[in-house]
Structures are given as C-alpha cells and as structure tokens.
C-alpha cells in the first residue's frame, strides 16, 4: 500500500543505520546481510542523480523528496561525496539541503564517502540500495558527483538516471566527454534563473540527437530552478514517464537482468582475484613460474598465461 506511512521498521532507523555502517566498513559482512534480506528486495523505484559539483543535485533531491512524499511514497536517499585523496577523510554536505525532511519518518537520508572501497564504491552503494529496499522504501534516490568512473558505475544501480547540469558549469560538450550523456534518461538544466540556461538547453537538445539512447526513449530536457521548486514537477513527471516506459517496453526487466549479471560477474572476479593473490605464492608450479618472472627469466605475459592455465584449466581439457 502506498499511503505514505513510514515503511515497516522505520522506527528502527538506528538498526538500519548500523547495518549500512557494517556494509561500508566491512565488505566481507555484506554477503550474509544481503542473503538474509534478499527476499524483501526488488520493489523500490531507483532513481540516480548525477552531475558536476555544485549544479544543484542535492537541492533538486530535496524537491523530489517533497514530490514523492506528496505522491504518498516513502523515500531513502544515498548521497555520495568524494573523499580527500590526501587524508582519506571527507566533508559530507549534501544533507544540509534536505534538512526540512528531518522530522518526517517516511524519509531516510544517508551520506557516504567515496573512500577507496575494497570491493569498490559501486559495490558498497549497490548493497546499501538492497538494504534500503528491504526496509521497504518506495523510492531510492542516489546522488553522486558525476566525475569519476566509479561514480558513473554507481549510476548503473538506478532504473532511471537524471543528469543535472547548470549554465556556466562547463559547457555541455564537457559533459559529453565524461561519458555522462550516454547514461542519461532525463536531462535537467538547473539554475534556470541564471543567464545562459536557454542556451544550455538548446545545446543539450542538439547533443542528445548525436548520442542515440540505447532504447526507444526520447530523453527529455527539463529546465528547473531547484531553489524555488520551479520545473520540479516536470522532472518528477519525466521520471514517472520513464518508469512507465521501462515497464511497458520490457526494458526494466532487461536492465535489471544486465545489472544482476554484472553484479555476479564482478563478485566472481573480485573473489577470484583475491583467491589468486592469496595462494599464488604458496607452492607448486604457480609459485615457481612467478619466481622465474621475478628473476627476469620469463616475460610477464607468458608467465600469466601459464599460471592461469594451472589455476583454471583451459576449455576442452
């Protein structure tokens, strides 16, 4: 039932928060956590918000929370901010823009620092999204700064990706270079109250033609002034329409299928890699092969191939 009441277990935000910390701090803990709550996942609508620093993603998220709450949906937000490459610390400031929802038990907001996650930042956010689904939130909003590859990777967990730009924030061409336009399902030009908004909209409409969307969906370009709320209803409507498109076209199943496959393969790869690293020195042929390479007696490519053949017999044997 979508009556806007807090999700079951919402009173236990403390428990939810602890669970998320465990996933963040101990990648090894995720496996059993996710297995336990798996049967309760899969029902939330997942929307990603990405774009350059300062374009207004958090302010827009705040407005979308309001729109969702008005529509009777409960909302969880994952707000990812970069970590300092020097100290590993971070200042997480997205929450400041969403504070007015603080007293609403139907809204949960969690900041995450990008860190140098062992299993990858994308893996950690993905698992956090599953936890939030299991706590029965209707809408999961994920905000990331659209710069690094790992941030783009996070957006793969979303069903609908909203790419936010603003006039004066690097021209749209730069956005295209970052590979961000290809993943956009909805394009937002925020700060429409600033000069240059119309030009940015036109530029994006032009570029959208050059980058065909991978399925039959006409990517809308929407203008907003998130700080006043103007245009937010149009973004919400575009997100809703895209959701409908995903369902009716079969693209939702396809996307989720691709996502599941990628997740499994990434986990297998990570596990294999750590197993290889843990055992390659032990003894036997792989260790000898490695030792020869270290003595410069064999080249890295042949050595790798030979080790791999010992560890995983090639097909047809």
């Amino acid at each position: 039932m979508r009556d806007g009441s807090p999700p079951a277990g919402a009173g236990e935000y403390r428990a939810l928060s602890r669970l998320i910390s465990r996933i963040e701090n101990h990648p090894g803990a995720a496996a059993s956590i996710i297995a336990d709550l798996w049967s309760r996942t899969g029902r939330a609508r997942r929307v990603g918000l990405t774009g350059a620093p300062g374009v207004g993603k958090s302010t827009l998220a705040d407005q979308l929370i309001t729109a969702a709450r008005d529509g009777g949906l409960t909302v969880a937000v994952i707000a990812v901010d970069p970590s300092s490459p020097f100290s590993g610390g971070a200042i997480l400031g997205d929450r400041v823009r969403m504070v007015r929802h603080s007293g609403d038990p139907g809204v949960y907001i969690r900041s995450m620092a990008a860190r140098a996650h062992l299993g990858g930042l994308a893996a950690a956010t993905r698992d956090v999204a599953y936890v939030l689904e299991a706590f029965a939130f209707d809408l999961i909003l994920v905000e990331t700064v659209g710069v690094g590859q790992s941030e783009l990777e996070i957006m793969r967990l979303a069903d609908t990706v909203v790419v936010v730009t603003a006039p004066g924030f690097g021209d749209a061409v730069q956005t295209l270079k970052a590979g961000i336009l290809e993943i956009a399902d909805v394009l937002v030009v925020n700060k429409a109250d600033r000069p240059g908004a119309k030009e940015t909209v036109m530029q994006l409409r032009e570029m959208r033609r050059l980058v065909p969307h991978h399925d039959a969906w006409d990517v809308p370009v929407v203008e907003t002034t998130a700080s006043t709320g103007a245009g937010v209803a149009d973004v919400w409507e575009a997100i809703r329409r895209h959701g409908e498109h995903l369902r009716t076209s079969g693209e939702l199943e396809a996307r989720r299928g691709r996502r599941a496959e990628r997740e499994v393969l990434a986990l297998v790869e990570a596990a294999l890699a750590s197993r290889v690293r843990a055992t390659v020195h032990d003894r036997g042929e792989p260790a000898e092969l490695l030792a020869r390479a270290k003595r410069h007696e064999a080249d890295p490519h042949s050595t790798a191939k030979a080790i791999l053949e010992r560890l995983i017999p090639p097909e047809g044997r």
């Binding site: 928060s17 602890r18 998320i20 020097f86 100290s87 200042i91 997480l92």
Partner: protein, 126 residues
Amino acid sequence: MAKIGLDGHDRGVKVVARALRDAGFEVVYTGLHRTPEEVAVAAVQEDVDVIGVSILSGAHMALVPPLLDALQARDAGDIKVLVGGVIPEADRAKLRDLGAAAVFDQDASTDAVVDWIRRHGVRSEE
C-alpha cells in the same frame, strides 16, 4: 558537526570540520540553525560516533539537554556529544554532568578537538 540555535557564526565549526577531514575523519556537516531534534535524527541516520555542536549564542544550557534527550529517545545515548562555544567554567561541569562527553572553549585549538576525537571518539563495534 552541527550548529544549533540562532547564532549565525559557522566559521569556527567549518574550520574544525576541515581539520577533521584532513585528519582522515568523515564529517557530516548539517548547516546552521538546526534544532536538537534535527541533529539527533541526522546523527542516528548517519550512524556517527561523535556529534560536535557549536553554540556561540550562550544558550548552551537550553540547547544541549534537549539534544541529549533526543538521542536517548532514539536509543542513541552512546553517541558522544562534544560541545564547543563560549561556555563559562561553571556551565562546563554542569554540561558534563548532564552527559556531554567533552566541552571545549571557543579558544581551544583545533588540534585539541581533533586529538580528543582521535582518542575518545571512535566507538567500538559490537
């Protein structure tokens, strides 16, 4: 790191936030003019180890107890509360008796705050 109450001076709290970041901590900044309830909700949702509140208006005796109560009410009394501001000696002892983990004067060095958090802040995991 949070500012509760009406005073609009966030320079100090931002300096401390940056120092903590540079010392390797993850800092959630909640902005100006927060209520004790808002800070408690943020602290619980973010699962923080320490809350640092800066109160320069002199209203610390009115603002800190509600924050401690709001944490208790959320089963989060184990989150340490560090109070900074213009706080007379007599009030410091009172705040500590009420349950504040530490009280720092506005003039305390940033290093002292970072050092305190490094030594006492990080919660042991169960």
